[in-house]
């Protein structure tokens, strides 16, 4: 039944009993393997190096290389774990910010079994991994703001922040299609409240305008339309109707061909987030302001940062996020 066991279960890995190479040999072989892209073999050499020469001169460097090899070979969870181990063991190593960075990037990849053939829009899927990556990058920016990896980490944080906002909007868009307008309003307001700096704010305002109109709250709908008129005029069509990117708005031909033909061109410069000219330090400064709400966050007051939205022509800043005092106690004093 041994064969049956090999077929289904993993063969028992029998540990290497004693060191077979010198420290130098292990390290050189490992680096050679990495260059040739044979990562698994490299990881094995590096593991043996750290096992048999834990206090050798290459111990710290080999863990950094192992992190890279694991990430490159798609073992994201183990790469993040190696990074974690490095941060714990060698906190004062000059390269430690690289470990923070690798941990963030590895977590951002999500689970290794995820289908990575086509780049799936993560915003529309489980974003748990993104949340961990965001926290990792935040820690990197706080501890090592001028680390060489800080700018990229900041940009990734902004990207994740927008992905979360987009995931809210995908739910809001569905509720518009479903004609559940109160649900759409709350989802859009969540973007307003927790992601004021995200690129989905224009879509959120459009949804709010549209839903209020459908609910019959025309006064609120008009207020949102003026907000759009001032800040994002391109979201309003000529006859003042709000442009949404939900399926409902697409033309029949477009729907018949599963969205391939005659898509109406929405000015998408705002939401593709290409290089907006900000310098590295600005990117980092903006990123450090970003906060993620926990999934089950209460309807607390909006975060302090305000969005540069002008309500009326006299440039009155809009205090985003409804004023709600923190704790509403509905003591059940019956």
């Amino acid at each position: 039944c041994q064969t049956f066991k090999n077929l289904t279960g993993g063969k028992d890995v029998d540990a290497v009993v004693t060191a077979e190479k010198s420290e130098q040999a292990y390290y050189n072989d490992a680096i050679a393997q990495i260059d040739k892209g044979r990562y698994t073999q490299a990881i094995e050499d590096l593991t043996n190096l750290r096992t048999f020469y834990p206090t050798g001169q290459y111990a710290e460097q080999s863990l950094l290389d192992m992190m890279y090899a694991q990430y490159a070979s798609g073992k994201y969870e183990t790469a993040a774990a190696s990074a974690e181990q490095f941060i714990r063991l060698y906190p004062s190593n000059p390269q430690v910010s690289y470990a923070y960075y690798v941990r963030g990037v590895a977590n951002m990849q999500g689970s290794s079994e995820g289908l990575k053939l086509f780049k799936l829009n993560q915003a529309e899927r489980d974003t748990a991994y993104y949340r961990i990556a965001f926290a990792n990058f935040q820690e990197l920016l706080n501890k090592y703001p001028n680390s060489p990896y800080a700018p990229d980490a900041a940009q990734r944080m902004t990207f994740i922040y927008n992905q979360f906002a987009e995931s809210e909007m995908s739910a809001a868009n569905w509720y518009i299609e479903r004609e559940a307008y109160v649900a759409a309003v709350n989802r859009a307001k969540w973007v307003f409240q927790y992601y004021p700096l995200s690129e989905s704010v224009p879509d959120a305002i459009a949804v709010l305008a549209y839903s209020h109109e459908k609910l019959g709250l025309t006064d609120l709908a008009n207020e949102y339309k003026t907000l759009l008129q001032i800040n994002y005029p391109n979201m309003l069509s000529a006859d003042g109707r709000v442009k949404l990117n939900t399926k409902r708005e697409r033309s029949l031909v477009n729907k018949l061909t599963f969205g391939q033909l005659s898509r109406f061109d929405k000015d998408t410069t705002v939401s593709t987030g290409n290089y907006s000219g900000a310098t590295k330090t600005q990117v980092i400064r903006n990123a450090t302001q970003l906060r993620l709400p926990s999934d089950n966050a209460a309807n607390t007051a909006a975060p302090s940062s305000t969005s540069p939205l002008r309500l009326t022509d006299d440039n009155r800043r809009v205090r985003l996020g409804a004023v709600e005092n923190d704790s509403i106690d509905m003591t059940d004093s019956n």
Partner: protein
Amino acid sequence: CSLLSVYKIDLPQGTPITQTQAQKLQVGMNQNQVLYLLGSPAIRDTLEPNRWDYIYDYQAGTEGQRRGIADVKNASQHLKVYFDNNGIVTRIQGLESLPK
């Protein structure tokens, strides 16, 4: 031929409160008392922080039509509660639009 019509689900949205519940509301109450009487409002809008909208919107699906429940559209059932800046009820509007 309703037998072959597309099955639509009922779409209840917001807070189906009744006039009897809302009548207990008086000007001068604080926000907690309002919440205790009517529960959380359907919409608390960012642009109108001092106004709570208890709106109810209902679109009958196949089941709703079978049971003859009427649609409630464009804010026909909508109670507006206005507060001053320290959360005391100043005005109540739309009481008559609520069902008995």
